[in-house]
């Protein structure tokens, strides 16, 4: 589903060169729920941005759903982002001027669906996160947890192959975080691949696989299938 091999990402200014990712390799299978952890500045967000086709990598190979993304045009990357990926951000990133219905509508517009199809998908997605009755409300009228559920609905409406969640519970209290996590688990159970960056070990433990990043490299991949109290097992795979 998602495969990165010896990936590197270098940010250059006229004074300094920063290696955000180096010899970064990861393979995510269809239907997996992968938690990505690591300290601040380790490269988690860079990985998510590259995985989400929001940034281009400097070297190595990246295949998304069997397609090598290097060299794709902006239009092709945008279409791929729209059709195959869904995003959930820590800051929700809803458009404040649009009501919930129109927020969820945004990716569907770019997909080119007709009005009927869009309406059907929007209503279904909002129902799925328990906000079907608030479609005409604006983001500012909702709590943080509700806003994140709208963001999930927006990501789900297009039926993506992979959901990329960058600290989706980072701005929520523990009760709301649990609720969001339950929704994500439900989505994953329905077959959608999820890659989630988190600082929260409890949430990471609920994922089926953990990936740890330090200094731009995958240092430790663990499976929650192992019988560890935290859901962390012995290293199975290391970056080259």
């Amino acid at each position: 589903m998602l495969s990165m091999q010896d990936l590197s990402k270098v940010y250059r200014t006229h004074l300094v060169e920063t290696h955000a990712l180096r010899e970064f390799s990861i393979h995510v299978e269809e239907g997996e729920f992968v938690a990505v952890t690591g300290p601040s500045g380790s490269g988690k967000t860079t990985f998510m941005n590259i995985a989400g086709l929001l940034e281009e990598h400097s070297g190595g190979r990246y295949q998304l759903d069997g397609v090598e993304v290097s060299g794709l045009s902006d239009r092709e990357r945008s279409a791929m982002r729209n059709e195959k990926l869904g995003f959930i951000f820590q800051g929700f990133n809803l458009i404040p001027d649009l009501n919930l219905f129109d927020n969820v509508d945004v990716p569907l517009r770019y997909r080119g669906f007709g009005a009927k199809e869009r309406k059907l998908r929007i209503e279904r997605a909002l129902e799925q996160v328990g906000l079907g009755s608030r479609a005409r409300h604006y983001p500012a009228e909702l709590s943080g947890g509700q806003q994140q559920r709208v963001a999930i609905a927006r990501a789900l409406a297009g039926e993506p192959r992979i959901l990329l969640a960058d600290e989706p519970t980072g701005n929520l209290d523990s009760a709301m975080a649990r609720a969001v996590m339950e929704i994500l688990e439900g989505i994953n159970a329905a077959g959608t691949t999820i890659i989630m960056v988190t600082h929260d070990p409890e949430l990471a433990a609920r994922a089926r696989r953990n990936v740890h990043i330090i200094d731009g490299q995958v240092t430790d991949l663990q499976s929650s299938f192992a019988d560890s109290a935290l859901g962390v097992s012995a290293p199975r795979e290391s970056a080259a």
Binding site: N49, L54, R75, S78, N82, N93, R109, D166
Partner: protein, 437 residues
């Protein structure tokens, strides 16, 4: 997607009314100022008779002072002598031709309650009506036969017919003018070509037209002097009316209709031969310098659109550019303030091209709003011009074509102003914005 972009643009305008209002105001001020001066320029420089402006020619002969041109650079007089004009008009070498000059006469209505009116009219040939095509409300022009018979007939303007006959069909009625009785054969409908190209010398090009029209040949008995421009480079040979008619004073205009280039060449040959013949009688001392100017050349030659008007249009366009620069700044602030939204849209699948289209559509919507408000400003500006300069009131109006032009200019200007801010919006790196939201 276009409908979606327009919907988004309308929402964004509504959601930030102050900034949107400032941008619309900046565009509207520029459009208002530009359209005020352009509307005047457009009316002044327009083609008053587009379907035949290349067939109607002003005829000029150079009978002027051998030592000094009528006007530089080597321009012949704008009118011609009575005898030359009459000869050429009656020679019948063109399809239509008419000599004409302006006269003043006292019109005495039959109704004793209405005081005599001092009015201004035109002595001309019947071909005037075929050439310049004034619309008739009642009746018709007099005929060439009536030209030859010196018939006492008159065609009235609509305004004069309303004053004298209360607007009724007056064809066949008698009208007393000065000391003569004239039979009304026709009444014109409104006839206000802008500019009044057939007489730029004796009337205001944008002022009122003639009250009446009489056969030129009637002047044999009326012996009228022109109520208009009269220029002589030497005094008449004798102090009598006949001496005046035989003089080198120029006060009669001559127009001809020539329907093809061949006809134009033939007519040029005809007037050149006429002048060569006159030279043998000691007239026309200057080198051959006869001119045939079609309507647009004639308007240009007479400087109907003066330099001040052109400068005003240029200055107002410069003002529009300044307004656009302000708009660029405001758009930049507006678009970059929405960097977060751009990033979200990019993450959700919008390509740079789609963001570009969305924001350019918003610029176009600003242009449309700017045009509508700008047209209101232009209408106010033209009203002020009308108040300050009543003599050009006729050219201070907006029409649908100018409205469409304003809309086009405004939208193009707004798109131009929006290109850089839109390009900047497209270049926003979504990854950085999404993390800091």
């Amino acid at each position: 997607m276009t409908r979606y972009y327009f919907w988004l643009a309308a929402r964004n305008l509504k959601n930030s009314p102050w900034l949107s209002g400032l941008m619309v105001l900046a565009i509207a001020l520029g459009i208002g100022a530009f359209m005020t001066s352009y509307a005047i320029f457009h009316a002044m420089s327009g083609d008053p008779i587009p379907h035949k402006s290349h067939q109607l020619f002003s005829v000029r002969l150079d009978n002027w002072d051998p030592e000094d041109a009528y006007s530089e650079p080597n321009e012949p007089p704008t009118q011609m002598t009575y005898r030359d004009a009459r000869y050429l008009a009656e020679a019948g070498k063109a399809r239509y031709q008419t000599a004409m000059f302006r006269v003043g006469m006292a019109v005495q209505p039959g109704n004793p309650d209405i005081k005599p009116l001092l009015s201004h009219g035109r002595m001309t040939y019947s071909d005037f009506f075929a050439m310049f095509e004034p619309p008739f409300l009642y009746g018709m022009p007099w005929t060439r036969a009536e030209d030859g018979a010196r018939s006492t007939v008159v065609v009235l303007s609509r305004a004069m017919n309303e004053r004298v006959f209360g607007g009724e069909n007056s064809v066949g009625r008698q009208l007393r003018m000065d000391d003569g009785e004239y039979t009304v054969v026709g009444v014109l409908d409104t006839f206000d070509p802008l500019p009044r190209y057939y007489d730029l010398i004796n009337t205001d090009p944008f002022g009122d037209g003639d009250d009446f029209y009489l056969p030129f040949t009637l002047n044999d008995t009326l012996k009228k002097r022109p109520n208009g421009n009269n220029s002589c480079y030497i005094d008449p040979p004798e102090d009598s009316y006949q001496g005046y008619l035989d003089s080198e004073c120029v006060w009669v205009a001559l127009w001809v209709q020539l329907d093809s280039e061949a006809e134009r060449r033939d007519y040029q040959t005809f007037i050149d031969n006429y002048v060569m013949e006159q030279k043998r009688h000691g007239r026309f001392p200057r080198p051959l310098n006869n001119r045939l100017d079609d309507v647009m050349d004639w308007l240009d030659n007479q400087g109907v659109v003066d330099e001040d008007t052109r400068i005003q249009v240029g200055l107002s366009f410069a003002f529009l550019l300044v307004c656009l620069l302000n708009t660029v700044g405001l758009m930049l602030a507006r678009f970059l303030r929405r960097a977060g939204e751009v990033s979200v849209r990019r993450a959700l699948g919008a390509s740079r091209r789609q963001i570009f289209q969305q924001y350019l559509t918003e610029s176009a919507v600003l242009g449309i709003a700017g045009a509508l408000v700008g047209l209101v400003f232009a209408a106010l500006g033209l009203a002020v011009v009308r108040g300050l300069a009543p003599h050009i009131a006729a050219v201070t109006h907006l029409d649908p074509s100018l409205g469409l032009f304003a809309l086009t200019v405004s939208v193009c200007a707004a798109l131009l102003a929006g290109i850089y801010p839109t390009w900047r919006a497209c270049r926003i790196a979504p990854a950085a914005q999404l993390k800091t939201q």
